[in-house]
């Protein structure tokens, strides 16, 4: 189970901001989310959306374990 966090407009679009998913890779996680909500799946791969795994930005693929926290971060606005 990876813990998935959504921020900003992604959380509004999804209707949730913190949810657990059974997935062992980012790719599998993206597929799983898109299966349940195609528009959200597309938004998570949209322009400017970054991914943090355990609070560190990653590009491309990453392995996920039971305790992994995955965050999808839309373009940051500054404070």
């Amino acid at each position: 189970m990876a813990r998935v966090l959504l921020f900003g407009r992604l959380a509004d679009q999804a209707g949730w901001r913190d949810r657990a998913f059974e997935a062992t890779s980012l790719k599998a996680l993206r597929d799983l989310i898109a299966n349940g909500d195609l528009a959200l799946g597309e938004a998570l791969s949209g322009p400017g959306v970054q991914v943090a795994v355990d609070k560190a930005l990653v590009r491309g693929e990453a392995a996920l374990t039971a305790a992994t926290e995955v965050a999808f971060l839309p373009p940051m606005s500054g404070g």
Partner: protein
């Protein structure tokens, strides 16, 4: 030695004057303290409230890394960044930055440098609640230009 946190994210309103007084206290070698306080604007009634979302553990780490770079660049003795999160009413303080240095130039410039980055590149997500509903907002061109001033130097 002071061991207070230098980066604070808080959902509660804060009092900038009290922060500045405490920041200035007990310094013998610091000749200059500069500070900046950002307030939420009402925008002639267009902004009923501002909502700022942070990612605890990620947002504060990013600010801390940038502030440490500022400390090295401007030879700061110390700094403090306090940032509101959650729903912020017009007139409330959103951000407070204080910088301490040997002389004023470094303190002023470091404060300006930190604010330009905080306003344009810090990991926050900002929503404006107005009469026509809520909308997510991104940095303005002015914010980006202000931040890029420092890149060329």
């Amino acid at each position: 030695m002071r061991m207070r946190p230098k980066i604070i994210l808080t959902a509660d309103p804060f009092e900038p004057g009290a922060l500045l007084t405490r920041f200035c206290a007990g310094r013998a070698e610091t000749g200059a303290v500069a500070s900046f306080t950002g307030l939420a604007r009402a925008e002639q009634g267009q902004a009923a409230a501002l909502e700022l979302e942070a990612y605890p553990g990620f947002t504060d780490t990013a600010i801390s890394e940038f502030a440490e770079a500022a400390r090295a660049r401007f030879h700061l003795h110390d700094y403090l960044v306090v940032h509101r999160t959650g729903r912020i009413a017009p007139g409330e303080a959103i951000v407070f930055v204080a910088t301490a240095a040997g002389h004023r130039r470094e303190a002023f410039e470091a404060c300006d440098f930190l604010m330009d980055w905080l306003k344009s590149r810090a990991p926050f997500w900002k929503k404006e609640h107005g009469p026509d509903g809520a909308r997510w907002i991104e940095p303005t061109d002015r914010d980006r230009t202000d931040a890029s001033r420092w890149d060329q130097e």
